[in-house]
């Protein structure tokens, strides 16, 4: 296809997705995309946005930096000519969108903006960089904890913002699922944290070690590749492998699953391998009870992993935000792989996980959990007193939630807790944490009885220095009810609250 796009009209057009006429609308979108959007691409997009999208604004010609990177270094070397241009689709939940309105009055459409998808001239994997807000495609904010970060899109100069986790489907030629997953991790991190530079798809292919043969077309990546690429990107990857090589019964190694969950709860995208397939875990949904999980033998606390119903997964074979459940879960999306993968992807089928950690997170979740439990055991009577003071039920299971967080995020939430807000009285004791000198990263274990936990409250927290080892560490501080403990001192704060807000910043706050 020879194109002369030099300085012609952008050809923006809005296609309304009327109920009952979706197929015709998508055929129109395919036409506007100039043949780039194939049937598989349509099905993939409709799988995610159908029922929510009311209008699609089509940019027929779009220069995508990710596709141009692949084009320049791979597709341009092929004999058959293909375009270096993409198309881009902007999704709106409002049927009244017009080109005029979208360009000249973006403020009126911002709430309806759901995100965008780049359509590449690649078959069959035409769905390129895609960012769609999960809360605008039917995911409920209630109990759906998911990584999102802001992405900006411009429509002829008008700025739109979407909060999402980035997605890219594999081309099955230049890229495989591992590249797509790794691209998502790197793009999420570079979009969220300025410390990471942006990398493009062919960078990942190029960084794949050639010792097992040529890198492209489609050679799978290895764990060594993962580790090397993430290290070169600026992360410090950690590998977790439940049960080592013995993986017959996952309940024999619940610690490893609690580690993986702790990283998800800490806001790290976790690359999860299922023997030949890899997806990224970016959050979880919750259930109200601990099901058949067992409490910690020493403290009788339940790790909050027991409350995880499903992990939220980004799998390049599907539109993002799939739900990975246990094997017995009829709604586990992994069942779709029954004919090709054994065992099918499920929470307990996890083979190995790779986590892109920051440098200064030296203390592992296993050791942080052990230390935190030991401290909590020492203050058990105070926890019971705090549960009573907070109006909790002393007979309920106590939930312990462990997460790693940055100093900046932690202090920002403590700062907000100092304010008096409707429904959230000022937390005087939050000022203590706010004023402390803290390391860049801390492990925090927060404890609450089940009902208060499900309502977003806790009655105790242990804060540990993530750069310390377990022998040199003493807690940064412990807060239980109205009592503060640090070093060799303890003090009751009579004006303090018995219960305080959980910190969920890593996966999004729900209280503003």
């Amino acid at each position: 296809m020879t194109e002369n796009l030099r300085y012609t009209s952008s050809g923006l057009e809005v296609v309304a997705i009327a109920p009952g006429a979706e197929e015709a609308a998508w055929q129109r979108i395919q036409t506007l995309c100039g043949g780039r959007l194939g049937r598989r691409g349509v099905d993939r997009l409709r799988d995610g946005v159908d029922g929510h999208v009311k209008s699609v604004l089509v940019e027929p010609q779009y220069v995508c930096r990710d596709y141009r990177d692949l084009y320049g270094r791979f597709y341009s070397k092929k004999f058959l000519e293909r375009s270096s241009y993409c198309s881009r689709l902007h999704f709106f939940s409002d049927e009244t969108v017009t080109v005029q309105g979208a360009v000249f009055d973006p403020g009126a459409q911002r709430d309806a903006y759901m995100g965008y998808s780049v359509i590449q001239p690649v078959s069959p994997g035409s769905v390129g960089r895609t960012v769609v807000d999960p809360f605008k495609i039917g995911m409920s904010q209630e109990g759906f904890w998911c990584l999102r970060t802001p992405f900006i899109a411009h429509i002829n100069g008008a700025e739109y913002q979407v909060e999402a986790y980035p997605y890219f489907s594999q081309s099955a030629e230049a890229m495989v699922c591992a590249h797509a997953a790794l691209w998502g991790v790197c793009r999420y991190l570079s979009a969220r944290y300025p410390a990471y530079g942006e990398i493009h798809p062919y960078n990942l292919i190029e960084m794949t070690n050639p010792s097992l043969g040529r890198r492209a077309p489609y050679r799978g990546m290895t764990f060594s590749d993962y580790s090397e690429i993430l290290s070169a990107f600026g992360c410090h990857p950690q590998i977790v492998m439940p049960g080592g090589q013995q993986q017959e019964d996952w309940t024999r190694d619940t610690e490893a699953f609690q580690d993986v969950y702790a990283y998800v709860e800490s806001g790290f995208p976790v690359l999860a391998s299922f023997r030949g397939h890899v997806v990224t875990l970016i959050g979880h949904t919750c259930r109200p009870g601990v099901a058949d999980h067992k409490p910690d033998a020493g403290t009788r606390f339940f790790n909050s992993f027991a409350l995880v119903k499903r992990f939220i997964a980004v799998d390049d074979n599907y539109f993002p935000y799939r739900l990975l459940g246990y094997r017995s879960d009829p709604d586990n999306y992994g069942k779709a792989f029954a004919k090709v993968l054994d065992p099918v992807p499920a929470i307990e089928s996890l083979y190995a996980a790779v986590v892109p950690l920051p440098e200064k997170a030296f203390l592992t979740p296993g050791r942080a959990r052990k230390l935190a439990y030991l401290y909590l055991k020492q203050i058990r009577s105070k926890i019971d007193e705090a549960v009573q003071g907070a109006g909790g039920d002393a007979g309920e299971p106590l939930i312990a939630r462990l997460f790693l967080t940055s100093l900046v995020g932690f202090k920002d939430r403590k700062r907000l807790a100092c304010f008096d807000r409707p429904g959230f009285p000022a937390d005087v004791m939050a000022q203590f944490a706010l004023d402390l000198n803290l390391p860049h990263f801390v492990w925090v274990m927060q404890v609450s009885p089940l009902t208060l936990h499900n309502q977003g409250w806790c009655v105790a927290e242990v804060v540990l220095d993530a750069s310390a080892n377990e022998y040199e560490s003493q807690p940064v501080y412990i807060r239980v009810g109205r009592t503060l403990i640090r070093g060799g001192q303890e003090k009751v704060v009579s004006a303090g609250l018995w219960r305080f807000l959980q910190y969920t910043h890593n996966l999004g706050e729900r209280d503003g």
Binding site: A178, T222, G276, H277, L374, Y375, C418, F419, V428
Partner: protein, 66 residues
Amino acid sequence: MAEKTPPKKYVRADEFFESPVPSDIAEVVREQVLRERKEAILDLATVREQEKWSLLANKIVGAEGA
């Protein structure tokens, strides 16, 4: 965002600890950790951290169509 009222005073961490009572929690836990380390034949956390991952090194994690 809901209306919010800032605190009237910035309270420093040390102000919370005027006239504290002593606490031995940190020391008790530290001694326990050291004791467990001495008694442990096999520390599972250490085993996990020091596990040799070479069995994974060349394992393909994702390939065409998967």
